[in-house]
């Protein structure tokens, strides 16, 4: 294929990328981000992980070390298996704090320390430079493959310039689309869309090549497996391909760490993610992409060994295989795929590293040099930040080119990738620890990252550039594995150890809480009364975002506070929001410092933290108080409900009582009326007249008794009964009662069984009332005892506490247990047709009397008949009675 064709295709492809990026940026500017925000675009942009190292290097790696190359893709796969709870959380926290880079994340977590961010930036720059050089080298080598073609315009001068031309072009692309704006959320739609397209080209090219190799050169998958087995019969190959478990493990750990910590990966994974929802798709789609990219690597490597001359560079099998087979179009596609892999990596890496360099090196240095002059004189900070970023992009790409020229492109591609991976992995303990452990502090992070960095420099980086040579860290172990194990262990131990014994400052503790618990950070400052400070803040924001964006933000904030105009009150909420938006442009540490200077912030102190804790505590107590009040209300409602039920029941009872009374009064009244009407008849005989008058008299007596009883009961119930207290001998009272009661049904011969000696008990009580009770009880026995030979037993006992207990027991059939509780109720006549003139008030009156006397009357079950127990105290309670 003519070299000119290649260059033309390349230029056309680059023009397409520019056009796509431009169109995407324009669409985003118009707010049409829906298709740009699709999870698939996000997933494809993650494929920037597969740089030229994957595209060319993986085949070389596989032909030297067999399946070991898979570790580079298995590590990320394992990390993405934890996408749901791990990566989503990382993205959520990072979005919450408007983190702009991995250095910014670590710095924000550990108390917005810019020095820590500067240290991480240093590692990133050192690690990224050879990696960028690797991409430039791969592009140069791929051009070389075609330039060795006799028809091409060969010549080392032209080729020496290839890397330069590529570097310059990439720098221009990155500056154009990577620094268009200083958006608060640092997203680059144009770049991401272009990269997603490049990912498709990469994958399509690699799969096309794989299909060609398996079904074109070999004879299908089973033949391919046979060829792999045959290749491994060669003892030299077998030895190189034999997996070493320690190295396998270390590589998986390092590549898993790289997917999180490499600046370009952090950029596409976290910074360019609008929210964590897209990880639902990326969680399986990205491993699937990696799977597809690695599936054909080993077949290509084996086929390359078989078909290519022994001195051919295995890193370039992907190009030389189709070219040698005469598949020019396939070779061109593969070339464009490799070109895509290299360019997308350089662009994203340059953006990410340049953001770190400008935010953590250049802007703080410039601010420190200027010492923030009076705000009126402060010039355009926005322009400075953008220029700093452009400068940093140029510097990163230029450093890569210089490194490439200096190293002469001798080193194998894979080695350079591993150097970068293991360098950035040193950030992992502090990053993961900071996200999961509130106790992690800045000194620990310094100690861990610092120790890891020094060990990595000495054991990995310097040997890789030929300084110091390979050192034997642990005998019998692969030097790279040993260096990685040692540096990461020392790093983690130092981080954890120093964190355990350190005490973080308040800002740090606050950030730690916010990061670990994934809760919104709230800047808590003591009252900032000076409202006029909002204006300098607006001026500052204008210099960073440009006038329109700043005014928009301030107006929206003011409106949210219910104010008109552009100057909101400096509430903690507003300051927190402003700081985080600024952090999205210039990094957390710088934003924090600038706001504090301009707004005259008061440093956060331990007492502020305690105050916040107090507020939380107060809020909790308030909640508990409300909860208690609610419970109290519920209780009251229940009580009211009960009271209501009781009142309803009482009302029913009252109605029943009135009904009863009317009935009781009406019966004798009816007789009285009837007989008086008869009496009015003139021709009545004397004897009849006498008899009827007697009946009227009798009924009137019954009415009177009933009314007396009712009156008595009402007096007793109200507790206003007059008691005549005196010393009483029980024997006398009982004798009088028995005598008086003998008038009731005198025809029945009752045998009275008394224990006379025990009856002589002295008590202080109302003798007449007691007599009334006893007569009632004994008369009842006489009335209702249904035994053939009735016997009444009266027993008196003195209980230990004084007073007396009188049991009156007959030998009748007693009262059913179901009715025993009813007999003391008013009008509770047990189903006796005789009624014996009572209105059913007797026992109710008895109970009221006994209660008035301070005693009680109760039915005694299980005595072989009806039995009543009268309990009397030694003296009636104070307050009752007449005295």
């Amino acid at each position: 294929m003519p070299f000119e064709t290649l260059v033309l295709a390349c230029l056309a492809y680059v023009a397409l990328m520019f056009a796509v990026a431009y169109a995407a940026d324009r669409a985003a500017a118009r707010g049409r981000v829906r298709c740009l925000d699709h999870p698939l675009v996000y997933t494809l942009s993650l494929s920037v992980y597969c740089s030229a190292w994957t595209f060319y290097g993986a085949v070389g790696y596989a032909s030297r070390s067999g399946l070991e190359f898979l570790t580079i893709y298995l590590g990320p796969t394992i990390v993405f298996c934890g996408a749901w709870w791990g990566l989503r959380r990382l993205v959520r926290v990072a979005r919450m704090h408007h983190v702009t880079s991995v250095a910014d994340l670590v710095s924000a977590r550990f108390g917005k320390s810019n020095r820590l961010a500067a240290l991480v930036t240093l590692i990133a720059v050192i690690a990224a430079t050879p990696y960028v050089a690797l991409q430039l080298q791969s592009v140069r080598l791929s051009f070389e493959v075609f330039a060795t073609d006799p028809r091409g315009m060969g010549g080392s001068d032209a080729l020496g310039g290839t890397a330069l031309w590529v570097a310059a072009g990439l720098a221009v692309f990155t500056i154009l689309f990577g620094t268009r704006n200083l958006a608060a959320d640092e997203r680059h739609h144009g770049v991401v869309t272009a990269i997603a397209l490049e990912a498709v080209v990469k994958l399509a090219a690699f799969i096309a090549l794989g299909v060609f190799v398996i079904w074109g050169l070999a004879d299908g998958p089973s033949d391919m497996l046979d060829r792999i087995s045959r290749a491994s019969l060669d003892p030299r190959v077998a030895e190189g391909w034999l997996l070493r478990p320690d190295r396998w493990t270390a590589l998986i750990v390092i590549s898993g760490a790289a997917i999180l910590t490499l600046p370009r990966m952090f950029q596409v994974l976290v910074v360019e993610a609008a929210d964590e929802e897209r990880l639902h798709v990326a969680g399986w789609a990205f491993p699937a992409y990696l799977f597809a990219m690695s599936l054909f690597v080993l077949p290509i490597a084996v086929m390359g060994r078989e078909l290519m001359p022994a001195d051919a560079n295995p890193d370039l099998y992907v190009l030389t295989l189709p070219a040698a087979a005469g598949q020019d179009m396939l070779a061109l596609l593969v070339f464009l795929g490799g070109f895509s892999a290299a360019t997308s990596m350089v662009v994203v890496c340059a953006i990410a590293v340049a953001t770190m360099v400008s935010n953590h090196w250049l802007v703080p240095a410039w601010l420190a040099l200027r010492r923030i002059p009076a705000s009126e004189e402060m010039d355009d900070l926005r322009g400075f930040v953008l220029n700093a970023r452009r400068l940093a992009i140029l510097a990163v790409v230029a450093a890569g080119w210089v490194y490439h020229q200096a190293s002469g492109g001798a080193a194998a591609l894979a080695a350079m990738g591993l150097v970068a991976f293991s360098g950035m992995a040193q950030v992992l303990p502090a990053m993961v620890g900071g996200l999961l452990w509130r106790g992690a502090n800045r000194k620990g992070a310094y100690a861990g990252i610092g120790a890891g960095f020094v060990l990595w420099m000495g054991l990995v980086f310097l040997p890789s550039v030929g300084v110091g040579g390979d050192m034997t860290v642990l005998p019998g172990m692969d030097p790279w594995t040993a260096a990685v194990a040692l540096s990461l262990s020392v790093n983690t131990l130092a981080f954890v150890g120093v964190s355990i014994f350190g005490f973080p400052d308040p800002v740090e503790r606050f950030q730690g809480l916010s990061f670990v618990s994934a809760i919104e950070p709230l800047r808590h400052s003591r009252a900032r009364s000076a409202d006029d400070r909002a204006e300098p803040l607006l001026a500052m924001a204008r210099r960073i975002w440009g006038p329109d964006a700043a005014l928009r933000f301030f107006q929206a904030e003011a409106r949210a506070q219910g104010k008109s105009g552009y100057l909101p009150d400096l509430t903690p909420d507003f300051l927190t929001g402003l700081e985080r938006r600024l952090a999205g442009s210039i990094g957390a540490a710088t934003a924090h410092a600038m706001i504090d200077r301009v707004a005259g912030g008061v440093a956060l102190t331990v007492s502020d933290l305690l105050q916040v804790a107090d507020e939380a505590q107060r809020a909790k107590e308030e909640t508990q108080r409300l909860e208690a009040a609610r419970a109290e209300l519920a209780r009251t409602a229940r009580q009211l409900h009960q009271a209501n039920d009781k009142l309803t029941a009482l009302s029913v009872q009252k109605d029943a009582f009135l009904g009863q009374i009317s009935h009781e009064l009406r019966t004798p009244m009816t007789s009285v009326r009837a007989f008086s009407e008869i009496l009015m008849d003139a021709d009545l005989q004397d004897a009849d007249r006498q008899r009827f008058a007697g009946i009227i008299h009798q009924e009137a007596g019954r009415l009177t008794r009933l009314l007396d009883d009712l009156l008595d009961l009402s007096v007793l119930e109200s507790g206003r009964a007059q008691l005549t207290i005196s010393v009483v001998n029980l024997h006398d009272v009982i004798t009088r009662a028995v005598t008086a009661a003998s008038a009731t049904r005198p025809e029945r011969g009752f045998l009275i069984d008394r224990d006379l000696p025990s009856e002589h008990l002295g008590l202080i009580t109302d003798a007449d009332r007691l007599l009334q009770v006893l007569i009632n009880v004994i008369s009842n026995a006489r009335k209702y005892c249904d035994a053939d030979h009735p016997v009444m037993t009266i027993r008196v006992k003195r209980p230990q506490g004084g007073g007396a207990v009188i049991d009156v027991i007959d030998n009748g059939s007693g009262i059913d247990s179901g009715r025993q509780s009813l007999i003391f109720e008013k009008f509770a006549r047990l189903n006796d047709p005789a009624r014996a003139g009572g209105a059913g008030l007797g026992l109710a009156i008895c109970r009221e009397i006994m209660l008035n006397l301070g005693g009680d009357i109760a039915y005694l079950p299980g005595q072989g008949g009806a039995a009543f127990r009268i309990v009397l105290p030694q003296r009636p309670p104070v307050g009752s009675g007449s005295d």
């Binding site: 298996c81 934890g82 996408a83 792999i228 997996l243 493990t249 599936l295």
Partner: protein, 97 residues
């Protein structure tokens, strides 16, 4: 909070358990990729090893896909349950629906 319910509804319970599965999955993936290599490195280094590793990898991808799908569905179910204060059959007898 002390007034958090002691037992969850069916939807939330299922979501929690799926969340547990999402936590266990990376550990399982790690073991699946590391243990065989430590155990029998020689038999995993060549053609058979390639088949084994790619097979395991494909199963892992499938597992993540299924898990995320189930998680999204159960999240939607929990959301529905929380939006609808008295779901007619949720939690009692889903088989009857």
């Amino acid at each position: 909070m002390s007034d958090r319910p002691l037992f969850l509804e069916r939807a939330s319970f299922r979501r929690r358990r799926l969340g547990d599965a999402a936590r266990v999955l990376p550990v399982l993936a790690m073991l699946a990729m590391l243990l065989p290599v430590w155990w029998v490195p020689a038999s995993l280094s060549y053609a058979a090893g390639a088949v084994w590793i790619f097979g395991t990898w494909a199963v892992l991808i499938l597992a993540v896909w299924l898990l995320h799908r189930a998680l999204l569905r159960s999240e939607a179910a929990t959301l529905r349950a929380s939006q609808d204060p008295a779901p007619p059959a949720s939690g009692q007898d889903p088989d009857a629906v």
